[in-house]
């Protein structure tokens, strides 16, 4: 097992951990804003780490021009996710605020 495989396994395992945290937050958090908060951050970092791990795993057979080009394309996807996912979360949250979704507070549950 090459060093590149071990590094990519670490990246993908870390990404799945963040995905897991984001999903737990999505299910367990009490209202819309808190759920967006959990998924917006957790999914972004999780997807970023998984995609970077895939790009590194693509290089585990050695550095050839073709596989380096493929890895660069995959890293473009990671950059796109890193830009687009937080902005989409921001847009959805702002849409909810404009539509009048009331944030959850502790007093209301009593």
């Amino acid at each position: 097992m090459s060093i590149m495989s071990i590094v990519s396994i670490l990246f993908i395992a870390g990404g799945t951990f963040f995905f897991f945290g984001a999903t737990v937050g999505l299910i367990r958090f009490p209202d819309f804003y808190a759920r967006m908060h959990a998924t917006g951050k957790g999914d972004t970092l999780g997807a970023f780490l998984v995609v970077i791990g895939i790009a590194l795993y693509n290089l585990h057979n050695g550095l050839e021009l073709g596989s380096i080009l493929t890895s660069i394309k995959v890293i473009f996807i990671a950059i796109f996710i890193f830009l687009a996912n937080p902005t989409a979360t921001h847009a959805i949250t702002k849409g909810g605020l404009d539509a009048g979704v009331v944030p959850w507070t502790k007093e209301k549950t009593k």
Binding site: F80, L83, A84, A91, K94, G95
Partner: protein
């Protein structure tokens, strides 16, 4: 619809990403020979880039960039490129969309003429699909209003 100048984050990211999405649409179109992709997928990406701008700004601004009239012309242009390629083959003595006949007017052999003919047809498909996507989106999003933007 989000109003104009409502949010600087969404607007600037949409402005920043649109040229990259359009370049990727052309990449998907021209790489359709060798990898997954082609005219339809590229056209959907091209239309989606415009839809992203309309969502980030508003519908009046979008119709100022691409008017309904220009959109209809784009629709017809794509169909014309597609059927014109087929008709050219018909005129040159083959059957409809028999691209190897294009070798008579192109400086290549019949095999490469097939590839180029398929590329021409795919470009026509891309233009039409992008214009139709934008057209469907504008009709659905405006619900028949914004008549002043139809000029």
């Amino acid at each position: 619809m989000i109003r104009r100048h409502e949010d600087i984050i969404i607007e600037s990211l949409a402005r920043f990403l649109t040229p990259f999405i359009q370049a990727f649409a052309l990449y998907v179109l021209f790489l359709g020979h060798y990898s997954p992709g082609g005219g339809f997928q590229g056209g959907v990406l091209m239309g989606a880039s415009f839809i992203l701008l309309v969502i980030a700004y508003d519908i009046i601004e979008g119709k100022r960039r691409i008017t309904e009239k220009f959109n209809i012309v784009l629709n017809a242009t794509g169909v014309m490129v597609f059927s014109g390629t087929g008709l050219l083959c018909l005129i040159l003595g083959g059957e409809f969309l028999d691209y190897s006949q294009l070798a008579a007017i192109l400086p290549v052999g019949p095999e490469e003429a097939r590839g180029l003919g398929i590329l021409a047809v795919e470009i026509g498909v891309e233009i039409t699909v992008a214009a139709i996507m934008v057209s469907i989106f504008l009709d659905l999003a405006s619900a028949g209003e914004h008549e002043e933007a139809l000029k």
